[in-house]
Subunit: 129 residues, 2 copies
Amino acid sequence: MTTRRDAVHDTLRGSSGFRSAQDVYAEMRLHGAKIGLTTVYRALQALADGGKVDVLRTDDGESVYRACATDAHHHHLVCRKCGQTVEVAGPAVERWAETVGSEHGFTEITHTVEVFGTCSSCSTPSRTA
Amino acid sequence: MTTRRDAVHDTLRGSSGFRSAQDVYAEMRLHGAKIGLTTVYRALQALADGGKVDVLRTDDGESVYRACATDAHHHHLVCRKCGQTVEVAGPAVERWAETVGSEHGFTEITHTVEVFGTCSSCSTPSRTA
DNA sequence: AAGGACTTTGACAACCGTTTTCATTTTGGC
DNA sequence: GCCAAAATGAAAACGGTTGTCAAAGTCCTT
């Protein structure tokens, strides 16, 4: 059954940012779910393989996952403080990547584009109190 | 002394693609260098911190390094077969990232952009014999 | 319902790249 | 030559991730 996998997917949907496998595991346990870390990893991989969630790597090599609102190709604008993420399209970037690639004789072009910044909530100094 | 660090830097310069710390270490040992893995890691970090080399993460979480021809901000077009890398500029992308970020109220925008493809040498089928 | 084959699960160990530790060596200054 | 500070590197520690494998669950057939 895919019950566990769905549970993992649901947990991910409950968050607006990217979460690590261990985050998801911890949260599920907090909410009383009976699930093992191994299963969370497997569910996340399956979800990622099926294009149900997006994956990216943090600077320290951790894989983080996020349930995307759309199946279409898109990129992310991630707040480096709170992790809040906005899905953004970048047609211009897609074209640029293709162009740059073919100019140099490369084929089967793919690309990774992620934008980081500090969101308005986090950039308001007096908001931390 | 920075002798070891220079040696690491030189080794990196001898390659046209991104190399992992362990790759660099292995190659240096092959060429008879007396150096420890720890030192290679430290040298690579120092080089990266000083902006002397570019770092990125492979899909499996390994850090790979490359000696850049320029200190200026640029991106990479990497062959997914042989690793050959071309440095590319993308002013349009820089602007796009800024625009997208500020449209959503984000500040201090940074971005990661890498383009992957198959280079002309690697895409020629009969070249493998 | 019972039996059996196949799948899923999860505790735990193994992995692997990376970082830390710490004793030793090297370097530079006096 | 001597001492203090920095660099080195072997080995241990670390941390996220993956593999192992036996136990549990599921589904189909009888």
